[in-house]
Symmetry: C2
Subunit: 267 residues, 2 copies
Amino acid sequence: MQDAKEIGRSPMPSVDKALRAVMELAEAGVDGLALADLADRLSVNRSSLHATLRALRHRHFVDQDRATGHYVLGSSLLAAANLYYRNFDLRGALRPVLVRLAAELNEVFHLAILDGTDLLYLEKVESRRPIQPGTSIGHRLPALTTALGRAIVAATCRDIEDFRARFAGHLEPRTAAAPRTLDEEWVEIERAQRLGHARDVEHNIEGLTAVAVALRLNGSPAAAVSIVTLTPDFQASGEEYFANLLRERLAASLPAQLELETPRGEI
Amino acid sequence: MQDAKEIGRSPMPSVDKALRAVMELAEAGVDGLALADLADRLSVNRSSLHATLRALRHRHFVDQDRATGHYVLGSSLLAAANLYYRNFDLRGALRPVLVRLAAELNEVFHLAILDGTDLLYLEKVESRRPIQPGTSIGHRLPALTTALGRAIVAATCRDIEDFRARFAGHLEPRTAAAPRTLDEEWVEIERAQRLGHARDVEHNIEGLTAVAVALRLNGSPAAAVSIVTLTPDFQASGEEYFANLLRERLAASLPAQLELETPRGEI
DNA sequence: ATGGTCGTTCGGCAATGTACAACAGGTCCC
DNA sequence: GGGACCTGTTGTACATTGCCGAACGACCAT
């Protein structure tokens, strides 16, 4: 029961307000936000937000620009996130590979893991193209209808019953082309099992197509890497081209604990 | 007045408790902590901590391991810290250089900035030696008595009056060898101004010696890079050797906005 | 069974965060 | 120069809220 999505509304308003402030300041980036501006975005009164920010400042979770008075993220966040080792290993291991690939091919690469039914982006390496997917590191998305999610699901789900049990109610199509039922989605998953890579032809963002392969960490499927291209480029070079590219390049420079998921190949 | 260190104790206990929980979980790392264990470390009751953790979980600032029930850091921290751009530029620019240096020389390198009177570590590249300084990225330390701090202070302080005004009451010697008065500390600072690099001979950690040079970002002193060695190795090769090494290697691969602090050389 | 954990839930009291208003310090614009 | 706005910050009552002790169901080890 409580395994359901915990839709219960905010417990502990004061703490929740502090966390929302941190997230909003994160989006604001380097320039930070003025107190009044932040209060507007969170729909809270300035004075109570001021007290909250004082508490955050006390632990250096936010800092205040001496010149402008704007509030910006503090250093404790940097310190805390740096100890988020569980993912950092994966990130550290794959980042050099992805950076090199991105530089050579001028395409966007993603690294993500599955957390429950959510996809969690651990790394994004950008290209120099004008059109970029709106993802960012730490972003959380429903796993289905993305190539990354499909690749991991394909590697972890035995059959359609298993699939239905885990993802019933978790299909949230984001574009017109995306499957609208679990059965349609399963067709993509099963295809990914046979071929050893998953695709997402404008099922996630209009105009963009992605191909992803899953990675096994110490034998069990854990993560996936994807390449994102414009749909016309994808159709010109063909799905096999990108899939082979990913597999070959990754295989050549993968650390010991990691291995590529292999195609099951059965009809 | 309020520019003084805000020693006023914790405002907003509930928020402060949440932040302390996050910091404690950060130290715990991948394995996380059990609720009872965390409650002990924070000296709070389990039930009230449970409510706090629920609020943190709600925004994915912490997650709970399904198997063990242990609490671990969540993904929102990763997302938030990734937007801490102000420092990330420096980090991203210098990390490749430091990694290469560390690989070749098998020593520890640090990158830090000055935040008020505190030193803030932005990067640490480790060596393969058994003895490592206990610093970590995001760590915050009083600036004085470290080579990194001295290098930046030397670049930003004109004279001893300026120095006294900024650092009165902020000298916290951490080893027996460290200066115990501002006058003694100023001797090191002035020396750093003349030579163009700062040293720390067991003023910070027993057995370790560091040499640091300051960097100017768009013309104004902002950061410092240090190399940390065992004191015997330091004495064998000599201070000049390490200082020149740092200067030459950094100068060779510094991005456009950055430049090395130059020795003032007077007297 | 029994004692010992653990994570979690419940309720009553009191501490706490909230909101409205007023304050001090700016900048802008007649 | 002086008003009219901004801003960030500080009081002060009220009632909402988080705190604590105790009890609950699960689990694991005797």
